[in-house]
């Protein structure tokens, strides 16, 4: 497989190492299709959420009384920036700069971990004021949607960490580039979902 691939004279690896081999291309396409499915998955969660918005919750536990803008804004910035750093990592991967790729990936991980920490803090806060998974249909729908997203973030962190450790001492090649690349697609998708979460769940929820 690898022998058929033409290397770029400057970078020393193929121009698009993530899809230079058939295996890589398969992975790339398959992962996009998977994201197509994930789109519908999150749509189902969003649909349920908007269907049950504030349903069954007492006035003081309704969206416009519990959501706080500051925290959501910080979380949004963290995740949005991590999407950019993930792009930078991939650009460095294509340019065959393993060092800088790793650096940007670590930054991505840190930002993601910060996001996750903030989310956990947020959930604990809600728990204390009585907005829980079982307190109302609204609570169930909220935690399911946002929690599914949080679970995706967690999985993404674990995945990228594993990739980093495994390939720490290896050069970038057509075998590991697709792995890095699809994990970064995954990470962007997490951000895509978050954009809708902050717009529809939080901001719209605050508008009353």
């Amino acid at each position: 497989m690898a022998h058929a691939v033409e290397k770029h004279p400057v970078t020393g690896i193929p121009a698009n190492p993530e899809k230079a081999t058939l295996e890589g291309k398969n992975k790339y396409v398959a992962f996009w299709f998977f994201l197509g499915g994930e789109t519908v998955l999150f749509a189902s969660l969003f649909g349920t959420y908007v269907g049950l918005l504030n349903s069954g919750a007492p006035e003081e536990l309704r969206s416009y009384n519990i959501f706080e803008m500051e925290l959501v804004f910080i979380m949004t910035m963290l995740l949005l920036t991590s999407s950019l750093t993930s792009v930078l990592a991939m650009m460095n991967m294509k340019a065959n700069n393993p060092g800088r790729m790793k650096l940007w990936l670590i930054v991505t991980l840190l930002l993601g971990a910060g996001f996750l920490g903030a989310e956990i803090y947020e959930f604990i806060h809600y728990y204390h004021i009585g907005h829980t998974f079982t307190s109302s249909a609204f609570g169930s729908a909220f935690y399911t949607l946002v929690g599914f997203h949080g679970a995706h973030v967690t999985f993404g962190l674990l995945w990228i960490t594993t990739l980093l450790i495994r390939n720490w001492n290896r050069p970038i090649d057509v075998y590991n580039a697709p792995k890095f690349y699809v994990s970064s697609l995954y990470w962007h998708f997490i951000d895509v979902v978050w954009v809708f979460i902050f717009s529809i769940v939080y901001l719209l929820g605050m508008v009353n």
């Binding site: 994201l35 792009v87 930078l88 697609l185 895509v192």
Partner: protein
């Protein structure tokens, strides 16, 4: 002599690669700046209570949609050459997603 030509053309290539990657870099940065901007507008509008309630939904969703397309098309390069089927499948996914949300919003009383 030959070697020098080789070197020359290699340098040329290197320059091209650099320029290309710079263009790419700028594109990504610009789109990031736009995302940040859109986010600020969304948060700001809600914070300052600039919109009437009925218009908020549409407005926020439009901003979100623009931002998401920046992600998909620029950060994720969905539109790359050879990605026809990827684009088709993503759009079908978006289509199913829209009718799903619409149904769960409109058809449950």
């Amino acid at each position: 002599m030959e070697k020098r030509v080789m070197n020359e053309s290699h340098k040329q290539l290197e320059l091209e690669v650099k320029a290309e990657s710079k263009r790419e870099y700028q594109l990504q940065l610009i789109s990031f700046a736009m995302m940040i901007l859109l986010t600020f507008v969304a948060f700001g509008a809600v914070y300052a209570e600039l919109m009437p309630v009925w218009a908020a939904g549409g407005f926020l969703i439009i901003l979100a949609v623009i931002q998401v397309f920046l992600q998909l098309y620029i950060f994720m390069h969905m539109n790359n050459r050879g990605n026809t089927w990827i684009v088709v499948m993503m759009w079908l996914g978006i289509f199913v997603a829209i009718i799903t949300v619409a149904a769960l919003r409109l058809l449950i009383w």
